[in-house]
């Protein structure tokens, strides 16, 4: 073993020891650099409303975006049992849809990257419908999921805009499906307004989702609409090859060899973009809630 290998191993051992002794980080497996670590007792941590593009008039915004509202800081307060709280504090991020079947809402965190290598997205989440009925309501949330919105650097050759999507399709039209899906095609771009500078596309349209191979998974929904359990999720993506590497949800790791991202030509103002989105979608005329206890985004650089 060379001295440099020993040094690398010792450095990694110290890093892991520090991580595992830290109660706030120990639940994550971050790569060598932590880009952000969001705990929502500290505020919204940059998770803002995904607003649609427009020009001259807000009426030009595509309807998919017009329905979005801001994420909230929630104690998961329920009418029958009071505040549920999050894992590490009283507060979670809450992404709520409107009470109309098919309604969606998206929260976004906007960064750029400084190194094209492996990044890791980890979070603890749960989802529930609004407890407006004294029923289990386990098929009222259609889906929850996440996506990245990425673009190569301005000096990269043949740079693309790449948008990996993954959603947990919980139910569709009342049928309990419980499977992970991805998307490789987006909706066509449309010019918004009467100028030529602004385009928009609704990449979360219902069409085009494909099943992740062997992507069926039964999560812990619990026994009434107001009991929740937190679920771990990890997604690794290579910014150099613009390719998904690994995906884990709780005790399951999924084969990503059949996974594809949405790929579109690079756009003129999005260089080195590193955006993260979380979304919820309802399958009933009832609000769907995606709650997030904490998020850790890390990179190998």
């Amino acid at each position: 073993m060379t001295a440099s290998q020993t040094q690398i191993e010792m450095t990694e051992a110290v890093r892991l020891a520090l991580l595992r002794a830290d109660p706030e980080l120990s639940r994550f497996d971050p790569l060598s650099r932590i880009i952000s670590h969001d705990q929502f007792a500290n505020g919204h941590c940059g998770w803002s409303q995904l607003v649609g593009n427009y020009e001259n008039d807000l009426d030009t915004m595509l309807p998919g975006y017009a329905q979005h509202t801001g994420a909230m800081l929630s104690t998961l307060a329920h009418w029958d049992s009071g505040s549920h709280g999050a894992m590490g504090s009283s507060y979670a991020l809450k992404i709520a849809t409107r009470p109309k079947k098919g309604a969606q809402n998206v929260a976004i965190k906007r960064h750029t990257f400084r190194h094209r290598g492996r990044i890791r997205f980890e979070l603890y989440f749960t989802f529930k419908p609004e407890a407006s009925e004294l029923k289990l309501s386990e098929t009222d949330v259609r889906s929850i999921g996440f996506l990245f919105d990425l673009q190569a650097g301005d000096n990269d050759k043949a740079g693309e805009r790449v948008m990996p999507h993954l959603r947990f399709l919980n139910a569709l039209d009342g049928k309990h499906l419980q499977k992970w899906q991805f998307k490789r095609h987006t909706s066509p771009f449309q010019a918004v307004g009467n100028g030529e500078k602004t385009l928009s596309h609704y990449h979360l349209a219902p069409e085009g989702w494909e099943d992740l191979p062997s992507g069926e998974q039964r999560l812990c929904y619990n026994e009434i609409a107001t009991k929740v359990n937190w679920t771990y999720l990890r997604f690794d993506f290579d910014l150099k090859e613009m390719k998904a590497l690994e995906f884990q949800c709780n005790d399951r790791q999924f084969d990503m060899s059949g996974y594809e991202s949405i790929r579109i030509p690079a756009m003129k103002n999005l260089w080195c973009m590193l955006n993260f989105c979380l979304f919820a979608e309802t399958d009933a005329d009832k609000r769907a809630f995606l709650y997030v206890d904490s998020v850790c985004i890390s990179g190998d650089f």
Binding site: N42, G43, H44, Q49, V51, L58, D59, M61, A66, T69, G70, M72, L73, S74, T75, A77, H78, W79, Y91, K94, A96, R98, E130, A131, S132, R287
Partner: protein, 111 residues
């Protein structure tokens, strides 16, 4: 750490008619709120008085007591200040038949 404060857009370019209300906003962490309702377009017909509503559960709503006349012209702004509201907030207004306003509702919360 500085205390949290946030500006949240709760209704954007929504045309309010009939019994209208913003989506429920959970804000138990905040000690004070200011709510602005801006008319993005020329309002049509008689404009009602908007009211702040609070809720025990985010589903059942009662008037908190604070209210303000809806703006009567484009870019007019109604303002409501609230200091004691528990966990949920929304703004509601009842429009008579044929009356409407296209609104931008923003809630400004401070811990």
């Amino acid at each position: 750490m500085l205390p949290e404060n946030i500006t949240s857009v709760v209704s954007r370019n929504e045309t309010w008619t009939g019994a209208a209300a913003s989506e429920p906003h959970e804000a138990g962490w905040a000690r004070e709120a200011i709510i602005f309702v801006r008319a993005l377009k020329e309002p049509k017909g008689k404009q009602p008085v908007a009211r702040v509503e609070i809720s025990p559960d985010g589903m059942r709503w009662v008037a908190e007591g604070t209210q303000a006349a809806m703006p009567i012209e484009q870019d007019g702004i109604a303002v409501m200040r609230v200091h004691h509201f528990g966990n949920w907030l929304r703004v509601a207004a009842d429009f008579a038949d044929g009356c409407e306003s296209t609104v931008l509702v923003t809630i400004h919360l401070k811990a």
